[in-house]
């Protein structure tokens, strides 16, 4: 073993370090540059509406029953044709999700008969107190397609009798 050997090894090792100076940086500059989430990513929930602006949620509480963490609270009330929120008999008058309890498993999505609740792609959920983590219906519901489609609204009698939309292809 010559005297030079440790020096050669040192240069070889530092050469590896030096080579990384010219590599492209791999870091995502997070708050400025956001990485796309995957198509099946499950983030903050959204309550959907039909194209005519009526809410899809019919207040059946199946999501609350499916929730393994008991994070969802639903209270249903009766629809009338003068004050209609959703098609069918009932709508969710209270709909709350505790974002800190929710484990984003997507069981609520699976349980929903009208595909009203969908897990979106927002993951930026930090709270300074626990009370503000409970999202009420107003925060979860997506905005109306156009301004005149707000709920509740007055509709013609006998049009919206079905709460679950008719299935076009039963094999689907």
């Amino acid at each position: 073993m010559s005297v030079l050997e440790p020096v050669v090894e040192l240069v070889r090792g530092l050469g590896q370090t030096f080579r990384y100076l010219f590599d492209r940086p791999v870091t995502y500059q997070y708050p400025e540059q956001k990485r796309e989430v995957r198509p099946r990513f499950r983030g903050r929930h959204v309550l959907k509406r039909y194209d005519n602006g009526l809410e899809k949620c019919i207040g059946c509480s199946l999501c609350a029953a499916a929730c393994p963490a008991d994070a969802i609270f639903v209270e249903a009330s009766e629809n009338t044709d003068e004050k209609r929120f959703s098609p069918g008999e009932r709508y969710a008058s209270t709909y709350e999700i505790n974002m800190l309890r929710c484990i984003y498993c997507g069981f609520c999505e699976d349980a929903c008969p009208t595909e009203a609740i969908v897990l979106g792609d927002n993951y930026e959920l930090s709270f300074t107190d626990r009370r503000s983590a409970i999202y009420p219906k107003e925060m979860l519901l997506e905005p109306v397609p156009t301004v005149d489609m707000t709920t509740p609204r007055k509709v013609e009698t006998g049009v919206y009798k079905r709460s679950v939309p008719e299935m076009k292809d039963p094999t689907d």
């Binding site: 393994p68 963490a69 800190l100 929710c102 484990i103 498993c105 959920l125 626990r130």
Partner: protein, 162 residues
């Protein structure tokens, strides 16, 4: 707590010193290793080169509470771990902050049972709760930035009162 007790009410000196001190605090806030469960994996990912928390002054995770300013409780805290967590929190020097990372540390999450603390705020004062099971590294960084906003808004006057 040193300087803030003496300089609580000196007008422009206090406000500019506040800005300087809070700037310093937010640019070198060392977190303490407190990985207890799966959230720790995401915490490691946030430290690694893809997300790199060193960009926010979190150069390295300290294993010693005496050298850390921020406790990131990542994971579920069992009844047996509780006293340990409190003891480590008490050993951290003032000023100190706590992030409850993930559902379990924030409120028990899916583990609503006899063995798990229903939120780490039963033990220590929590500044920021980060939701997610586990949160993405970005979500943790968002929580850290929320802590920074809170620290930047701190006033000596309020700190001196305790």
């Amino acid at each position: 707590m040193g300087v803030e007790q003496k300089l609580g009410n000196m007008g422009v000196v206090t406000t500019s010193l506040e800005t300087a001190v809070n700037w310093a605090r937010t640019n070198a806030m060392w977190p303490m290793l407190f990985g207890l469960a799966c959230c720790a994996i995401e915490m490691m990912a946030a430290q690694a080169s893809d997300y790199d928390m060193s960009r926010f002054g979190m150069e390295l995770m300290r294993a010693s509470p005496r050298q850390s300013d921020l406790m990131i409780v990542a994971g579920r805290v069992s009844k047996k771990m509780g006293p340990v967590l409190r003891r480590l929190y008490d050993q951290m020097p003032e000023p100190k902050w706590v992030i409850a990372m993930g559902d379990c540390a924030s409120c028990g999450g899916v583990f609503n049972n006899y063995a798990i603390y229903q939120g780490v705020d039963e033990l220590v004062p929590v500044d920021v709760y980060v939701a997610g099971c586990p949160p993405r590294p970005e979500a943790l960084i968002h929580g850290v930035l929320t802590v920074y906003e809170k620290v930047k808004a701190e006033k000596f006057k309020d700190l001196a009162k305790g």
